[in-house]
Amino acid sequence: MYEIRWHGRGGQGAVTSAKVLADAAFRSGFEGVTSQPSFGAERRGAPITASSRLAHEPIRILSQVTTPDIVVVLDDSLLGVANATAGMKPDGTIIINTVKTPAELGLDALLRVVTSDVTGAAETAELIVGGQPMVSTAILGAFAAATGLISMDSVEAAITHAFHGPAAKKNVDAARIAYECAHA
């Protein structure tokens, strides 16, 4: 089983990321998937977390993820605020939407860090919602590249299922760009 913790800000779409990932993972062959927000009042801008689990049998654990294999950070400003690496398994991976290097972000050199300019990818794909680049689906491209657990085809199918019309295409484009520019 893979345990994933997402860090985002209310309104940034971290919950959507977790939802679409669950769908993409299911399409990629994971029979057991769950995704859930950290439960409670959600306010725009407030740091939030979401939890996902992927396995090849049904998931029977519903408590919040505390020892993640994978951490996804939608906004690098959260690194100073939310204890994003807390409980990470020693061979875990942290995926961050950023243009900075792991050293610039102050991350432990032993961590496996994958960065991708997902904000830039969203801007390039003209995926702007309410004046802000929407990174929530695009970051799944970085996730696919960093972990190899889900295929880009499944990401595209999940995104297309969740969004309709021209919005779906922009989300898919952004995810593809984020996939291409992810690097360890």
């Binding site: 939802k19 769908d23 439960f39 998931i59």
Partner: protein, 405 residues
């Protein structure tokens, strides 16, 4: 025609069930964590995918009132609520069951105020367990969908309303794979509702729900009309009939759709279990992981899941628990001033049974306090230690409480 499997939340599963059941009238008031159920149904009514009447009401009390009115004239009705919303409609919850109306309501379990808390526990459902509804608890999102559909069959056969309870946030807002049956499959399982007790017919007018006296008395033809106690005894009998109707309905659903949920209870690693972990709802799902952890340490643990809490499956529980060493009952609620409700009921049911286990209780998850399978395993180890030390009774064990600050 096979199911389409998609990843969805418990609330979406409930909404899909109401749609498949072809509900005709929906009246509900939003409350966290139920709101998405009603929002989805409203969207389907708006788009025409669900040809139902959606009545926007200003409170939960009115929501149940509208359901009572609609069900009285034979419409298949649906509502959903949580916590304080359920409390607000409580007098109508009692009315619906005493009036023998086959309403189905999803209760998305949430803690009661005061203090305010939007997160999960089972206190809301427990607060109305005596009100004469069938109460079914779901362990995952697939069961939510299947049980809500089954609920209509159960309700309409018995003329008793059915409450389908599922954990707020843990299931309502958590996505997991759910197979959605086809309309053809559900239509074959669930015929239209055509036989209400009340037939509103201008050529044969009735007074529906007049005052009833303490003693039986003759009606206008000389036939005996029951007093309050007779009417309540017949209501209670219908709930006891549910002990058969619930498993029968589950079996019929299995024939139609290919899935069954165990009827009144379900079990995991129970056969040779000496320590039985008992709970209703998603806690049961987590307990299956706990049982595996304990087995790996040499403790013969098993899980007995309560699916039907009302009617309380006394005979089933006696049969499955006789000869065990310990039943540890996990309640996400409390009868304040006493102990967990499921624990009391179970201990009472086992009294006088040959080979009855010791029954200990644990209280957990109040107000959404996180509970992991590991926490549940530690509670089991504590219970066994108490039992081995000679305790035959003990106070409920509060899991993860931090009174010291």
């Amino acid at each position: 025609m096979s199911d389409r499997v998609s990843v969805m939340t418990g609330n979406e599963a409930a909404a899909n069930a109401a749609r498949l059941a072809r509900v005709q009238v929906i009246a509900a008031y939003p409350i966290t964590p139920q709101s998405p159920v009603v929002e989805q149904l409203a969207a389907w009514v708006e788009s025409g995918e669900l040809p139902a009447e959606f009545v926007a009401v200003e409170s939960e009390h009115s929501a149940m009132t509208v359901c009572i009115g609609a069900s009285t004239v034979g419409a298949r009705t649906f509502t959903a609520t949580s916590s304080n919303g359920l409390a607000y409609m409580t007098e109508q919850v009692w009315w619906a069951s005493g009036a023998r109306l086959p309403i189905v309501m999803c209760v998305v379990n949430r803690a009661m105020a005061a203090p305010w808390n939007v997160l999960n526990d089972q206190q809301d459902s427990m607060s109305v367990r005596d009100a004469g509804w069938v109460q079914l608890f779901c362990r995952d999102n697939q069961e939510i969908l299947d049980t809500t559909v089954q609920a209509y069959r159960i309700a309409e056969r018995l003329h008793v309303p059915v409450m389908v309870c599922y954990d707020g946030f843990l299931l309502s807002h958590t996505m997991m794979p759910v197979a959605v049956p086809t309309s053809e499959q559900i239509d074959a399982f669930l015929p239209p509702f055509t036989e209400p007790f009340t037939v509103v017919d201008p050529s044969d007018p009735h007074n529906i729900g007049p005052v009833v006296m303490a003693e039986p008395r003759a009606d206008e033809t000389g036939a005996t009309r029951g007093g309050y106690m007779e009417i309540r005894a017949l209501h209670h009998r219908a709930l006891l009939d549910a002990l058969d109707v619930i498993p029968e309905t589950d079996a019929e659903y299995a024939s139609a759709v290919g899935r069954s949920w165990g009827g009144l209870t379900w079990e995991y690693l129970l056969d040779d279990a000496e320590v039985v972990l008992v709970a209703a709802g998603s806690l049961g799902t987590q307990l299956t992981v706990t049982a595996e952890q304990l087995r790996a340490e040499g403790i013969k643990a098993g899980v007995l899941g309560i699916r039907a809490y009302r009617p309380f499956p006394v005979e089933t529980l006696r049969g499955k628990l006789a000869g065990r060493r310990l039943a540890l009952v996990f309640d996400k609620a409390l009868s304040y001033g006493y102990e967990g409700p499921i624990c009391s009921d179970l201990r009472g049911a086992m009294l006088g049974t040959d080979g009855a286990p010791a029954v200990f209780g644990a209280v957990c998850g109040l107000g959404g306090r996180d509970v992991s399978p590991g926490d549940l395993a530690q509670a089991a180890r504590r219970a066994l230690a108490d039992l081995d030390a000679g305790a035959r009774t003990r106070e409920p064990d509060w899991i993860n409480l931090h009174l010291e600050g």
